[in-house]
């Protein structure tokens, strides 16, 4: 999928890869499916070890929190002119309905305001369509949160 609409396609490609390759994201099995415009989508497959309620098989809310946090971070990267380190400042999740056991969860996020120091994001989680969401999340990120870059650009080919 093309990153042509990103503020800086190279930054989005590199940061998108970085965010889903972080150890906790690999543990959960996040997959980056691509970005349409500046809205990235990630997927997590249902797995027995991600369940929060063994009586129902519903995925743990913490998995939703992680995919919202990660997808939202990628949406910030879609709006970056250059490489920068970001850190989540706050996050709120509304659990609209229980996820269906056995089905993959998708998350699509959007950075709707890129201010000089703060990025504001919103995200939805769903199975089949973003119009029928499981959860809604809003977050803010601190820009330039650490002088130590998250991505060693010189390591990239």
């Amino acid at each position: 999928m093309s990153h042509a609409d990103a503020a800086n396609p190279e930054v989005l490609t590199a940061m998108g890869e970085l965010f889903v390759s972080l150890p906790h994201c690999r543990t959960l099995g996040f997959e980056y499916l691509g970005t349409v415009g500046r809205k990235p989508t990630l997927r997590v497959q249902w797995r027995e070890d991600l369940v929060g309620n063994p009586a129902t098989g519903v995925v743990h809310g913490g998995v939703i929190t992680s995919i919202v946090d990660t997808t939202s971070a990628v949406s910030v990267a879609a709006n970056m002119q250059d490489y920068e380190t970001i850190a989540t400042l706050d996050l709120r999740i509304d659990y609209l309905k229980a996820a269906t056991p056995g089905k993959a969860i998708y998350c699509t996020a959007e950075c709707y305001r890129m201010a000089s120091q703060i990025a504001f994001t919103r995200a939805v989680c769903y199975h089949d369509s973003p119009d029928d969401p499981i959860a809604h999340g809003v977050a803010t990120f601190m820009r330039g949160s650490n002088p130590k870059p998250m991505l060693q650009v010189e390591d990239k080919p």
Binding site: P23, E48, D49, G52, G62, T65, T88, L91
Partner: protein
């Protein structure tokens, strides 16, 4: 009453903390531990594991992982004090990140601010070496009764 809740009630009454975690797959995957603190209140802890990292250069725990740990702590804290036929359902969860989570054990404590007939409100606080320097604070609403 589900078989899980029957099991949970028995494990709780016998204070078999590790087996409670073993019964909740994602809590087990994170590596959560809990027990009673010196004051008799529940204390949750999460030893450092490389698989929970979200920033490899610092390194720091993943923000979503911290959220999952706190949400799970709130749920278990609530279930610990209740006689219920079913697990409470989380309605919303709000989390403020105050410091990055270092490669150390993360602790959490919960406080039930309000427990009504239908809804409970829980405050959660997480810290590492120094309780006065919280890594994150959060609050959650849970639905206690099954409705339509």
């Amino acid at each position: 009453m589900s078989q899980f809740m029957e099991t949970f009630d028995r494990l709780r009454d016998e204070k078999r903390y590790a087996e409670v975690i073993a019964a909740v797959p994602y809590a087990r995957l994170m590596g959560v531990e809990f027990g009673e603190g010196d004051d008799g209140e529940l204390l949750f802890s999460l030893p450092f594991y490389e698989r929970n990292v979200g920033n490899t250069t610092l390194p720091a725990l993943h923000g979503g992982l911290i959220g999952g740990f706190l949400e799970n702590a709130a749920l278990l804290h609530l279930m610990w004090g209740r006689e219920s036929q079913e697990a409470p359902k989380i309605v919303d969860f709000s989390l403020d990140y105050l410091r990055s989570g270092r490669a150390q054990t993360l602790y959490a404590r919960c406080e039930i601010t309000k427990q009504g007939k239908r809804v409970a409100h829980v405050l959660i606080e997480a810290w590492q070496e120094d309780r006065k320097k919280p890594v994150a604070v959060a609050r959650a609403h849970f639905l206690l009764s099954a409705g339509s």
